[in-house]
């Protein structure tokens, strides 16, 4: 009799303890998959968000937008997706992986041509890339890296794609392009203005034509295979706040005003 009483008592005690744990602010994790160009700016914004919401842990996953799209399509745990181009979000929408009405255009950015800071080749425009002195140019892999897509569009617009084809060193993400130029192992590269800004070893020599820059849009969306949509949407809303906007401005992004 006694031991049976004890058994029920311990189970009851266990339940009470579990309830107590559950009743305190539940720990929430939001998995954010974001384009490589957002590495530094989101680092700061995520810290701000976590300070304001201490029970939320943001797990940030940075890679080329195409890579992230692949990961999400193959079931990787992602709650929020921020891409450097609409193409990847379109693809996910086509596969019904986006929560309705959560897709919004967040940022604009500019595409620029950069060279190593100590470059003496005198490259001043995209057309200069076809000169004999330019041996190697790096861009992102156009099939999976938005910055590479835009670079290809620029080269096609200037009609220099064929001339440059054999000189192109393709990178897996835009930050790799930046690193290649920083190390001087290539003579020039195409990255976003915001990437060029964080490096002291490169200099911007040309801007992309306006019609290309107009296409550079970073959409954000909530993925519907994520576990906590409320938390994910709360994070997405924060990205549109004035606080986050100030940080985006600081790094050179253009926040899209509603």
């Amino acid at each position: 009799m006694n031991s049976k009483y004890n058994k029920y008592l311990s189970i009851a005690l266990l339940l009470v303890i579990l309830l107590c744990i559950g009743c305190s602010a539940p720990a929430v994790t939001v998995n954010v998959s974001a384009a490589s160009s957002l590495t530094d700016v989101l680092g700061e914004i995520n810290a701000l968000y976590t300070r304001a919401n201490p029970n939320v842990t943001i797990t940030a996953n940075f890679a080329a937008s195409g890579t992230l799209q692949q990961q999400i399509e193959n079931g990787a745990p992602a709650d929020v997706f921020i891409s450097a181009s609409p193409k990847q979000v379109d693809a996910l929408q086509g596969k019904k992986l986006i929560v309705d009405n959560t897709r919004k255009d967040l940022l604009c950015n500019k595409v620029v041509l950069i060279v190593p800071a100590d470059s003496t080749l005198g490259i001043k425009s995209f057309n200069d890339l076809t000169g004999d002195a330019v041996k190697k140019v790096s861009i992102g892999d156009p099939d999976s890296v938005p910055a590479g897509q835009y670079a290809r569009d620029i080269f096609n617009e200037f009609g220099i794609m064929d001339a440059l084809k054999s000189r192109l060193v393709l990178a897996g993400n835009v930050r790799q392009v930046l690193q290649y130029v920083e190390s001087s192992n290539v003579d020039a590269g195409v990255v976003f203005l915001t990437d060029a800004k964080i490096s002291k070893s490169v200099k911007v020599v040309a801007d992309a034509p306006d019609d290309i820059n107009k296409k550079v849009v970073y959409p954000v969306a909530v993925i519907n295979t994520g576990k906590d949509r409320t938390a994910a949407f709360a994070y997405e809303t924060f990205l549109f706040s004035d606080q986050a906007g100030a940080v985006f401005d600081k790094y050179g992004f253009t926040v899209i005003k509603k």
């Binding site: 692949q70 099939d143 192109l168 990178a171 897996g172 192992n185």
Partner: protein, 225 residues
């Protein structure tokens, strides 16, 4: 960026063939030397020679990049000659050679150490020069191990990815070897391309395993002493 479907195959074959030839001869030479070397630095030198096998390929890649890059010692020498090796086809050969060398070296050295030195000495007493002794006596006796080393070096070279990507980069049609092409095909979401390349790699690997089995069968047995 679409490239000819089979270009990674040709690039890989050219790279691996060149790398295996270099590794084969240098591996045998160094292994032969180390097998008989009894000096104090033996273990230390051995460690250095095996290092690329034990280090993560990205570390090997970084080391090579620092060596051959624009600001690296060898890179500066090459620059003086007006050329650079980073992001070029020779870089794929360099990385493939460096990572496959330890395998060739270890197998060859093990094989040479197994050769009964009294047989070599017998050849020497019969008047054979060192060179003749090596070619006619030592190498045939060590052949199974040496051949195994060559095939393992080949297999390692064909699978090399991390260091190759860092030193040679991804240049479709020039430095995109099979593993690099597979990686980017997956990243681009082109699963058909990826699967075709994977099947090609599997075919090559099975062919080399077959070659290994064949080579191992051609041993010399000692029938009388």
């Amino acid at each position: 960026m679409t490239e000819s479907l089979l270009s990674p195959l040709w690039i890989s074959l050219a790279t691996v063939f060149t790398a295996t030839v270099i590794t084969f001869f240098t591996g045998i030479a160094v292994a032969r030397w180390m097998a008989r070397y009894q000096g104090k630095m033996r273990n230390f030198i051995d460690g250095i020679l095996i290092l690329p096998l034990v280090l993560p390929p990205t570390v090997v890649g970084l080391a090579l990049l620092m060596l051959f890059g624009k600001h690296g010692p060898i890179g500066q020498v090459l620059l003086w000659f007006g050329t650079t090796v980073v992001f070029s086809w020779p870089a794929t050969v360099i990385t493939a050679t460096v990572v496959s060398f330890p395998l060739m070296y270890m197998n060859a050295r093990g094989a040479f150490e197994q050769v009964d030195i009294s047989i070599e000495n017998a050849a020497r007493t019969l008047g054979a020069s060192e060179w003749r002794t090596f070619w006619s006596v030592t190498l045939p006796l060590a052949w199974p191990g040496v051949a195994a080393g060559a095939v393992m070096a080949f297999a390692r070279a064909i699978g090399e990815f991390g260091a190759t990507l860092m030193l040679a980069g991804y240049i479709p049609g020039k430095t995109a070897t099979l593993p690099v092409a597979i990686y980017f095909a997956v990243q681009d979401g082109d699963m058909n391309q990826a699967m075709i390349l994977v099947l090609i790699v599997l075919f090559i690997v099975f062919a080399s395993l077959g070659a290994l089995a064949y080579l191992k069968s051609k041993t010399y047995r000692i029938v009388a002493v």
